[in-house]
Subunit: 129 residues, 2 copies
């Protein structure tokens, strides 16, 4: 089985981060061998990768927690899972819309010419402010 260091390396985080996630309740306390070391399974790695993936998408640990709980209880009736997935989907849709608005703004800014250098002109990005 895997020690925390191996898992950390494999997932691309530090051991301290994994302990932190456990402290925060995102990961259940792992099985401890006779030496007191945490012992990880591939399942744990899968959950950690899910966590990182969600995090990369701008989802906070607070939001990730219930998703992971769901993953741990993954055998629940699919209808229940479905409802939670629907909620999550709505959140994702909202996030996409927000990002797209930002995207449009940025593109509009970047399409502007830098104006005549010098002179009395200010950067259009500032002028738009």
């Amino acid at each position: 089985m895997l020690t925390i260091g191996k898992v950390a390396q494999r997932v691309g985080v530090r051991p301290s981060a994994i302990r932190y996630y456990e402290r925060r309740g995102l990961l259940r306390p792992m099985f401890r061998g006779a030496n007191g070391y945490r012992t990880y399974s591939d399942e744990a790695i899968r959950l950690l990768l899910f966590l990182k993936r969600a995090q990369a998408l701008g989802i906070t640990l607070k939001e990730i927690k219930p998703l992971l709980e769901l993953a741990v209880n993954g055998r629940r009736p699919c209808s229940h899972v479905k409802q939670l997935a629907k909620n999550h989907l709505r959140e994702i849709e909202a996030k996409i819309r927000e990002l797209q608005m930002l995207q449009r703004e940025l593109r509009a800014l970047l399409r502007r010419k830098p104006g005549r250098p010098h002179r009395n002109e200010v950067c259009p990005i500032i002028q738009r402010a």
Copy 2:
């Protein structure tokens, strides 16, 4: 002239935030009247709006600081702003693509008939996550 409260209201932040920006060195210390109150000009409001706008584009205060300094010194921060904006735009585009992938996955999963829970499997929605 404007007091900090008026400016805050106009810019859409709290007075404490404006003082914080000054503490952080993003705004020069403002002129103080006889009573010790900060006195703001439209220029200051313009800079604050620029700050908020840059922030809304995901630029950190640390990154914004040199931009504001350049603006104040009359040099053109435009190319810097543009570079930052470009970088940020690329990040946003990547994020949107990832979220849309997840969105498609979730939608596909939600279109599936509820069916019976899979024997030894975790709910497919979770497994995909």
